[in-house]
């Protein structure tokens, strides 16, 4: 099995980085930690992308906007004075309903169309959702509270401190949810009949019909699930940045998440996790190195604008040119 090997190598590399970074002044260690933590959020969105790709063989560009939509629903229900947990449930349910509706109206009629058409259709969905958000909620930023407050009773930052970086409770919750959902999905695809049926549909929809599996039912299931996953990711991520604006998840998360999924091989659930971690660390350490770089006596100050986005572009290009099937993918 490749998964444990790749996981071990990645963990060893990050460990080595932390070990060498420990002696460096203004060193990379908080950045590495931050990168790993960001990686979990990328992985969470990447899970939704992998799910849709496994089920229907298309890239879902609307996955990020499902997250923004979930966050807006949560914001709306919180302003109505509902308790947080009920807000989350209603927000996920609301996004789920919209995902199912979009599947029925847009995706189902295109089920026989070329994959590139479905890709353009998901782009149209994402843009339309952004447009509706702008029309209803306006461009003004809003703030969304965390599940647990980021400050404890004494007014100090809550959470645990690792390598000079305080990790908020929200990130720890995101990590837990991510691990739980990833495990659940892996179990679902490998151990349940429904999961196998979904995989079969994506591989050969005609043969699946012949053995009596309803293709529309599978499509509905996949898009509903991915909308719910997207909403959960949005609800967990937006309080971390604190500001909720239209298209926030598409702008900040969708591209790193896609890159994470591609690194992992697009069909691999552990791959989404590993790709997310790699992208998070590369981006964060790249930002540190692009800002200033100390080695021994010398310090280089390189201010490269947008180094995080540049890192993603370089990583994605290299992975696709050198190993298009990704680290853990079974097919290109």
């Amino acid at each position: 099995m490749r998964t444990p090997v790749v996981t071990f190598i990645l963990a060893a590399l990050i460990g080595l980085g932390l070990l060498f970074g420990a002696g460096v002044e203004n060193g990379p260690n908080p950045f590495i930690t931050l990168g790993v933590m960001n990686g979990f959020v990328y992985g969470l969105v990447a899970l939704g992308l992998v799910l849709v790709y496994k089920g229907t063989r298309v890239f879902n560009f609307a996955q990020g906007e499902f997250g923004t939509l979930g966050a807006y629903f949560l914001f709306f229900f919180l302003t109505k004075g509902l308790p947080y947990w009920l807000g989350i449930v209603l927000a996920v349910a609301g996004t789920l309903v919209i995902g199912l509706g979009l599947e029925r109206v847009v995706i189902r009629p295109l089920i026989e169309a070329p994959r590139i058409n479905v890709l353009v259709a998901t782009i149209a969905i994402a843009l339309a959702l952004i447009g509706i958000e702008i029309l209803i909620a306006r461009i003004e930023p809003r703030s969304l509270d965390s599940i647990l407050p980021a400050l404890d009773a004494a007014g100090d930052p809550a959470g645990i401190t690792i390598f000079g970086l305080t990790i908020e409770p929200q990130r720890l919750i995101a990590l837990g949810v991510f691990g739980g959902l990833g495990g659940l999905l892996a179990w679902f695809f490998s151990r349940t009949d429904l999961g196998l049926a979904v995989l079969a549909t994506s591989q050969d929809s005609f043969a699946t019909k012949v053995v009596g599996i309803g293709v529309p039912r599978m499509s509905r299931f996949i898009w509903g699930l991915s909308a719910a996953l997207g909403a959960i990711a949005g609800i967990l991520y937006v309080p971390l940045t604190g500001t909720l604006t239209p298209a926030v998840m598409t702008v900040n998360i969708l591209i790193p998440a896609f890159t994470a999924a591609v690194i992992g091989g697009m069909t691999s659930l552990p791959g989404a996790f590993i790709g997310g971690t790699i992208i998070g660390v590369v981006q964060s350490v790249g930002g540190w190195a692009g800002g200033h770089f100390t080695l021994g006596e010398q310090t280089w100050n390189l201010i490269i604008p947008g180094v995080e986005q540049a890192m993603i572009f370089v990583v994605l290009l290299l992975v696709l040119l050198a190993r298009p099937q990704g680290l853990l993918g079974k097919e290109a």
Binding site: F59, I116, A121, I123, A126, A128, I130, G131, G306
Partner: protein, 397 residues
């Protein structure tokens, strides 16, 4: 071309009757031609008079629509002719706009803060040339990537490239002057909006001509063959690499020209003008216009550009929006994608398919709703029977 298109050899001994000579293409008679030419002339005169007497504000709107049309043609080359998706076109157009503005202000030395009002004509020409060149280079690089990476993954690469360009290249202060924007003064000849509109229309005409010759020539046929199947095209000795790169570079040249016009229309380039939403909207406007159909693409792109101003013309609608405190421009982000989805689900041919009976008639064919477009004469039953011995020949006519 597939192998089955080649007519099987006709066995001479089985041909009982001599083959009927079929009229290969229906043509209108003199009266028919006269009516068509009269209609086209009337259209040209009405449009020409209307455009010539246009106020400055609407001339500016039309310039924007024409720039959108050129961007649409650029995307159409990639989407319609090579079958790939570019989601990073805002980066190509933006880079060209900045190159054009940078040349005028920094190289040709026309700085508005030093009292320079009009760009020198020579500098303007070089700036437009450099912008086109930058588009060709950027798009050619994408073409090289596209030799290896295709389909969904190429779309992802272009999207990532767009984000990288906007956040990195467009933030380089010496090229873009940060958030303040790079001025791009026009030359004296084009200083009014009306003259600039005429210049844009001329640029669009040149693009349409190049696009037409590109597709109608050997190159276009080779590019379409590569789109259908690279393996089959290669086996017909089509140089897949060269033709793919050629298509991407043509698209880059159009994008570069559009970028230069973009810069001079507003006379200032701000990096905030180029957001990923616009690149995605541009893809959708090509889909609405009709993939691979230049008339439809131009109409679709112009509609997307003019949509907010058209809403303003409809007083009840604009009053309604003003009451809601909503800007018509915000509706483009909802109406555009909705139109694209409707197009893809109900009528994948787009606007081009809807207006095809009219464009076909104007081009000298019969007015028909038939999907074949009436360009080919339907063989009579008798001719079919007589030519039965060579059935493949009639189908490939």
């Amino acid at each position: 071309m597939t192998a089955t298109d080649i007519a099987p050899p006709v066995d001479e001994s089985t041909v009982v009757l001599p083959a009927v000579k079929e009229p290969t293409r229906w043509r209108p008679n003199t009266r028919g031609w006269a009516i068509r030419i009269a209609v086209i002339a009337a259209l040209v005169i009405v449009l020409g008079v209307r455009l010539a007497t246009l106020g400055g504000l609407w001339a500016d709107h039309i310039s924007q629509a024409v720039i959108f049309a050129i961007i649409g043609l650029s995307l159409n080359v990639i989407l319609g002719y090579t079958g790939q998706v570019s989601l990073g076109h805002h980066a190509f157009v933006g880079l060209a706009a900045f190159v054009a503005a940078h040349h005028i202000t920094e190289r040709a030395g026309c700085l508005p803060e030093e009292g320079c009002q009009y760009a020198p004509m020579g500098g303007f020409a070089v700036a437009v040339g450099l912008a086109i060149l930058s588009g060709i280079i950027a798009s050619g690089l994408l073409g090289i990537v596209a030799l290896r990476i295709k389909g969904l993954y190429l779309a992802l690469i272009t999207l990532t490239y767009g984000f990288f360009a906007v956040n990195s290249i467009f933030e380089i202060p010496s090229l873009t002057r940060g958030g303040a924007g790079m001025p791009a003064p026009r030359p004296k000849l084009l200083i009014t909006d009306h003259r600039f509109m005429v210049f844009c229309l001329a640029a669009l005409a040149v693009c349409l001509f190049i696009d037409w010759r590109f597709l109608a020539s050997r190159i276009g046929r080779a590019v379409l063959a590569v789109k259908n199947s690279e393996a089959v095209a290669a086996s017909y000795a089509v140089n897949v690499t060269a033709y793919k790169l050629m298509a991407f570079m043509l698209s880059g040249a159009f994008a570069g020209l559009a970028g230069a016009l973009f810069a001079y229309r507003r006379q200032i380039v701000v990096s905030n003008d180029f957001r990923f939403e616009s690149a995605l909207l541009w893809v959708l406007m090509v889909v609405v216009g009709g993939l691979g159909k230049r008339t439809g693409v131009v109409i679709g792109s112009m509609f997307f550009a003019l949509f907010p101003y058209l809403i303003d013309l409809v007083t009840p609608l604009s009053d309604f929006l003003a009451n809601l405190d909503r800007d018509p421009e915000e509706f483009t982000l909802v109406i555009g994608p909705a139109l694209a989805l409707i197009t893809m689900i109900i009528s994948p041919g787009g606007i081009a398919e809807q207006i095809r009976p009219i464009t076909n008639w104007l081009a000298g064919n019969r007015f028909t709703m038939h999907p074949d477009g009436g360009s080919h004469h339907k063989p009579s039953l008798l001719a079919k029977l007589r030519n039965r011995s060579a059935p493949a020949a009639e189908e490939s006519s």
